[in-house]
C-alpha cells in the first residue's frame, strides 16, 4: 500500500504549544489569500470552489458537500453589520452604567471589557478582510474607492455634516480601528503566547497575528461569537420582581436592551452576565476549534511541491524534490536550507539567491516571520516529509534511468551526502513503523547495481544491439563512447546518474 508523507502522525504536544503551533501557521493562509484579492467576488468564488473540492477529498458525501455549499460564508451587508454592532453597543452602554454605578459593579465592568474587545476585533477583522495585503492607498482612485467602501462597511463617517472629510482622515480612522483590533489580539492570551514563542520579538508575533486577523475562519468565529451574544440575549428570562398578579418572570428583549427600564435591566443583569460569559467562553472554544483546522496548513503547503496533482506531473515533482533536497543538503548548517525550501513553497521573491545565514537574516521581518512560523511548528516534520517523498521517488530510479530520463542526482552527489541522508532517514523512521516499512520497500526495489557492473551491462547491451544490425569497428566505437546508435546515447548519457 502506498504511504503518503502526510499519513505519518503528528507528535502530540502540550496544549500551550499546540495553540502556538496553530496560530503560527496562519501566515500561509495570508499568503494564499494574497494571491487573489480576497475582497473580490472572484477571489471568494475561487476560495469557495477550493473549499468544496477539498471537502470531497475529506470523503464527505455529495449531499454533505451540497449542504456545506448551502452554508457558504457570505459577508453581511454594511447595514446588517452595522445593525449588529449597534445592538452590541447598546448592551455595552447599559453594562457601563452599572460598571460606573454606586457601588461599581465589577462583573458588569469585566463583561463590558470582554464584549467591547469582541466587537473591536470583529470590526478590525472586517477591515483586514477588505483591505488589500499591501495596505490602504489614498493616492489612487482605486485605493480611494476601497477606503470609502471600508468606511461605509464599518460605519466610519465620510462627511462631517455637509462637509466631506479628507481621505487621509478617513484612512486614519480605519487604520485606528484596525490597530485597535490588533492591540486587543496582542494583549490576549494568544498574543502573549506568541510573544513568548518568538522570544519577545513583537514584530514577528505581530506578523503572525495579522495573518490570523486575515484568516476567514477566525473572522467567522468572531462573528459567531457576537451573533450568539445577541441571539441569546433576546428573549432571555430574567429574575424579576413579582408583579401584582403573580411571579411571572420578566422577559428581556435583547433587541431593545438599551431602551429597557433601568431597574428591570439591573435585576436581569446577573443572568445576562452569565449568558455573556457562557457565550464568550464558547467563542473561545470555537476559536480554538477554528485554529485547529489550520493545524496542518504549514506542512501541507510545502508538501504540495512533492505530490502529483492536476498541475504537477511526475517530472515536475521530481524536479522539485531534487531542488529541495539539494538546497536542504547544501545549506544544512542550522537548517538554513530547510528554511529556504519553506520560503520557496511560500513563493518568497528571490529566495533562491539565499546562500548564507546573513542573506537570510537580511530578509524583511514579515517574510522571515512567515518562514519561521512554519519552520518552528513543522520544520522537523517537513524535513521528514521531504525525505519520505524522495525515498518514494527513488524507488523508481532504475526504470527512469533506462528510459533515459534525467533524475538530477549523480552517484557522486549521492555518495558525498550519504552520511547526512542516512541520518535524516534515521530521523524519519524513528518511532514510525509506516515510514520504516516504506523505506525498507524502497531499499529492496531501488537497490542499485555497483557502477562498474552497470557500465559493463550497458556496454554489453549496446554491443549486442549493434551486433544485430551491423558489427563494424566504427559503430562499436560509437557505442563505447556513448554514441547515438540505437538509443545507446540515451542510456550512456544517464550512466552517471542514479
Amino acid at each position: 500500500m502506498a504511504v503518503n508523507a502526510t499519513d505519518i502522525p503528528i507528535p502530540q504536544v502540550k496544549i500551550g504549544d499546540l495553540a502556538v503551533a496553530r496560530v503560527a501557521e496562519t501566515p500561509i493562509r495570508a499568503k494564499i489569500d494574497a494571491v487573489i484579492v480576497p475582497t473580490s467576488d472572484r477571489g471568494r468564488a475561487v476560495a469557495e470552489a477550493d473549499r468544496l473540492q477539498m471537502l470531497g477529498k475529506q470523503k464527505l458525501t455529495t449531499r454533505q458537500r451540497l449542504e456545506q455549499a448551502a452554508r457558504a460564508p457570505v459577508p453581511e451587508s454594511a447595514q446588517e453589520f452595522q445593525g449588529k454592532v449597534a445592538r452590541v453597543d447598546a448592551i455595552s452602554t447599559t453594562l457601563e452604567k452599572y460598571a460606573k454605578g454606586t457601588p461599581p459593579d465589577t462583573t458588569a465592568a469585566e463583561t463590558k471589557t470582554r464584549l467591547d474587545g469582541s466587537v473591536t476585533l470583529m470590526k478590525s477583522a472586517e477591515i483586514y478582510r477588505m483591505m488589500p495585503p499591501g495596505g490602504l492607498d489614498d493616492t489612487t482612485p482605486a485605493g480611494l474607492a476601497e477606503i470609502k467602501k471600508i468606511a461605509d462597511y464599518v460605519g466610519i463617517p465620510i462627511a462631517t455634516g455637509t462637509t466631506a472629510r479628507s481621505d487621509a482622515d478617513i484612512k486614519n480612522d480605519i487604520m485606528a480601528l484596525a490597530d485597535g483590533g490588533m492591540a486587543s489580539l496582542r494583549a490576549s492570551g494568544i498574543g502573549q503566547l506568541l510573544l513568548n514563542e518568538y522570544d519577545g520579538d513583537q514584530v514577528v508575533a505581530d506578523a503572525v497575528l495579522e495573518s490570523l486577523m486575515r484568516d476567514s475562519a477566525f473572522r467567522e468565529s468572531l462573528h459567531e461569537q457576537v451573533t450568539d451574544i445577541l441571539s441569546n440575549s433576546a428573549n432571555l428570562e430574567v429574575r424579576g420582581p413579582q408583579n401584582a398578579s403573580g411571579a411571572n418572570p420578566l422577559i428581556l428583549d435583547g433587541t431593545k436592551v438599551g431602551l429597557l427600564n433601568d431597574k428591570v435591566y439591573h435585576i436581569g443583569n446577573t443572568s445576562l452576565y452569565k449568558v455573556l460569559d457562557t457565550n464568550l467562553k464558547a467563542a473561545d472554544a470555537g476559536m480554538a476549534r477554528e485554529l485547529a483546522k489550520t493545524e496542518n496548513a504549514g506542512r501541507e503547503i510545502v508538501n504540495k511541491r512533492w505530490r502529483e496533482t492536476d498541475t504537477l506531473d511526475t517530472d515536475a515533482v521530481r524536479e522539485n524534490l531534487s531542488a529541495d533536497v539539494r538546497t536542504a543538503t547544501d545549506l544544512r548548517q542550522g537548517d538554513l536550507g530547510l528554511r529556504v525550501v519553506i520560503g520557496r513553497s511560500l513563493g518568497v521573491n528571490g529566495i533562491d539567491t539565499i546562500a548564507t545565514q546573513d542573506q537570510y537574516d537580511a530578509l524583511d521581518d514579515k517574510t522571515r516571520a512567515q518562514i519561521e512560523g512554519v519552520y518552528r511548528t513543522h520544520g522537523a516534520q517537513i524535513k521528514a516529509d521531504l525525505w519520505v517523498n524522495l525515498s518514494k521517488n527513488i524507488g523508481f530510479r532504475d526504470r527512469y534511468r533506462i528510459m533515459g530520463r534525467n533524475l538530477h542526482f549523480s552517484d557522486k552527489e549521492w555518495e558525498q551526502n550519504a552520511e547526512y541522508f542516512s541520518t535524516v532517514s534515521e530521523q524519519i523512521v524513528q518511532g514510525n513503523p509506516q515510514a520504516r516499512a516504506l523505506l525498507k520497500k524502497v531499499e529492496q526495489r531501488g537497490q542499485m547495481m555497483p557502477k562498474k557492473k552497470r557500465l559493463m551491462l550497458i556496454a554489453l547491451m549496446t554491443i549486442l544491439a549493434i551486433g544485430g544490425i551491423a558489427m563494424t569497428p566504427v559503430s562499436l566505437g560509437a557505442a563505447a563512447l556513448g554514441g547515438t546508435v540505437l538509443g545507446g546515447g540515451a542510456i550512456a548519457s544517464e550512466a552517471g546518474y542514479i
Binding site: D41, R42, R44, A45, V46, E48, A49, L52, Q53, T62, R63, R65, L66, E67, A69, A70, R71, A72, P73, V74
Partner: protein, 99 residues
C-alpha cells in the same frame, strides 16, 4: 422509491456540485449564487420521486442559474434516449408477434 432512482438522484447531485465548482472557478457563478442554488436543490431533491419531477427540478434550476444548463441537457438527452429504446423495444416486440 427504488434504489436505482435514488442512485440516479445522487449522480445528478454530483453533477450539479461539479458544475457549481467549475462555475465558481470560471467566474460564472458568485458565492451567493452557489449558496442559493445549493439551498434550492436541497429543499427540493428529497421530494422528487420520478424522472419527470427530476427534469422539472433541473429545468427550474437552470432557469434560475444558467450554469446548470448542461446538467439539464444531459438528463434530457438520457431521457429521450431511454424513451427511444423503449419505443424500439415495443416495435421489435410487435414485429416478433407479426412474424
Amino acid at each position: 422509491m427504488n434504489t436505482s432512482f435514488e442512485e440516479k438522484k445522487d449522480a445528478v447531485q454530483e453533477k450539479i456540485l461539479g458544475c457549481m465548482i467549475k462555475a465558481l472557478r470560471d467566474g460564472t457563478l458568485k458565492v451567493e449564487e452557489s449558496r442559493a442554488s445549493a439551498q434550492f436543490v436541497l429543499s427540493k431533491i428529497d421530494s422528487v420521486g420520478t424522472s419527470q419531477e427530476l427534469l422539472a427540478l433541473l429545468q427550474e434550476l437552470s432557469t434560475r442559474w444558467k450554469v446548470y444548463e448542461s446538467v439539464l441537457l444531459e438528463e434530457k438527452g438520457k431521457q429521450i434516449q431511454s424513451e427511444d429504446t423503449d419505443q424500439i423495444k415495443q416495435v421489435q416486440q410487435k414485429l416478433q408477434k407479426f412474424l
